[in-house]
Symmetry: C2
Subunit: 305 residues, 2 copies
């Protein structure tokens, strides 16, 4: 094999009650990443999209992630990447994670699957560190593992793939920019223990509901007492989108990542489409441009073409 092409999916992190630990993978949108081995000890990046991301590998998340892998190998070779991104940077659905994960997953196949999924997540987290200043795994882990994953711990890394029933996701991406730093700064530093208990009771119930395939319990447990109340003011019409979505049949949902995208989970495709229509109705009155997506929760993660 000289060249590997993969599709690296968008992901939703900070799933309602699961701030900083729970994420899942989508079927679409996705990025298309081609990686080939080259004899030179370097990383060459060609961007085939409109987003004007840096081609300097030390300033590109895919480059940084691949360099971590090359360092681990002690390689006397390099990689060439061709990246076609369909996930807009800054959308809140794991655009940087898709770049890093696509690159390391493809490169690993060229290295005959030398590294485990946990190791690929470690490499991809170097990309996340470049993008946001902190190593976090709640987008890269679902991108690599697929499905729903819980990050029990980042250091040492402990990724827990979760059982889950078929679920459909509706995403609305308002075309506004929220800086991750602003979304972080708006969070409380401390929370009341009683509020933390409410939050973790919901998270425990959410994980149980996934394992048991209990859609009603899933709906009841999608309450966020801490992060959503702080961040929802950053997203125009957040409350209206949520209320209309639930009226249209969504089980629940919230802010994807640190926004501005919002996601809603539904039991079936029909409900997910009704939710999309209701989101479009709310947003068509705002003057804010937006895109919507419908996708199943993607059990596979990276797809090798």
């Amino acid at each position: 094999m000289d060249e590997i092409c993969v599709l690296a999916p968008a992901t939703v992190s900070n799933v309602v009650c699961g701030f900083d630990c729970l994420g899942f993978a989508l079927n679409e949108p996705f990025d298309e990443v081609h990686v080939r081995k080259i004899p030179e000890r370097e990383i060459r990046i060609v961007n085939r999209d409109e987003f004007e991301l840096p081609s300097d590998p030390t300033k590109n998340v895919a480059g940084v992630a691949l360099q971590a892998m090359l360092d681990a190998v002690g390689a006397d070779f390099g990689f060439g990447i061709e990246m076609t991104k369909y996930i807009k940077p800054g959308s809140g659905i794991g655009s940087s994670a898709a770049s890093s994960c696509g690159a390391v997953a493809a490169a690993n196949r060229l290295l005959e699957d030398r590294f485990s999924k946990h190791e690929l997540v470690e490499f991809a987290m170097e990309g996340e560190k470049l993008a946001s200043g902190a190593k976090h795994a709640d987008n890269v882990a679902p991108c690599i593992f697929g499905g729903f994953v819980l990050i029990r711990s980042v250091d040492p890394l402990d990724v827990v793939p979760l059982g889950f029933p078929p679920l459909f996701v509706t995403i609305i991406h308002p075309q506004i920019q929220i800086k991750t730093a602003d979304a972080r700064a708006i969070l409380p530093k401390d929370v009341a223990l009683s509020t933390a208990v409410q939050q973790w009771s919901n998270l425990g119930a959410f994980v149980a509901a996934l394992a048991q395939g209990d859609h009603e319990l899933l709906a009841r447990s999608m309450e966020d007492f801490i992060v959503e109340p702080a961040r929802k003011s950053l997203i125009p019409e957040f409350e209206a989108v949520k209320a209309a979505s639930i009226k249209a049949g969504a089980l629940g949902g919230g802010i994807s990542g640190s926004g501005p995208s919002m996601f809603m989970l539904s039991k079936n495709e029909k409900a997910a489409k009704n939710v999309e229509t209701s989101m479009q109705q709310v947003y068509s009155q705002t003057g804010v441009e937006f895109k919507t997506y419908i996708s199943q929760v993607n059990p596979a993660g990276i797809v090798f073409l």
Copy 2:
């Protein structure tokens, strides 16, 4: 049926990372509760043990719980209770919950199972309110439902029975008194958001580990960053008991309820017995009297004789 006799088991609440929301039932110790219907509109309590609990039904948790049930029925009759407690009050393994739950479960059978398990938990919580000043469900729910349960919410009550693998429990009950009020007062009112995230990541992983029967993940997720650090000073040799237990083969464990009992979970009975021996070795050097118990996690809860 004129009279029903039940065994109401001890329970462990505040299971490590699951403060105020996670509990499980033991096989032993248990209380023996006889309930019969009487024509008089009153509750008569006879205590057949050494603990000198009040026989005035307004001051006895079983009496208060049964009165809540009689009120819900609009009954023109009453109940007579004979209570033989083997679970010492104040032990931290759900003594008051066993009294209340045994009483309402037996009475419900006399009423031809008119009430659901959720409703029985509601009645029994009135007993908990008498005992501790607050309605909480993390002992009464596992006592009624059996197995591991998660309390997603107390008001409205939402009890989630969890799937779990076979697990053995070793309990050590140091014969000292910890006032629930003191154990509450020692807790922090607020916690750092970053610490809360660590705690709920562990709780999510613990629930997933139960569902997946993954003992190694169960062990890794039994870490408490909030409650145990605050409360462990109340229990002599807490750290030594924990360290010796894990060395002897326990998966992990912590303070049962608000103490003074400690519990450890093990994969099999042999490990649980080794853990008991190691606990006894630590405590025999303290001069504090103690009792130990070994039990499987009890999937049934209340047993009808």
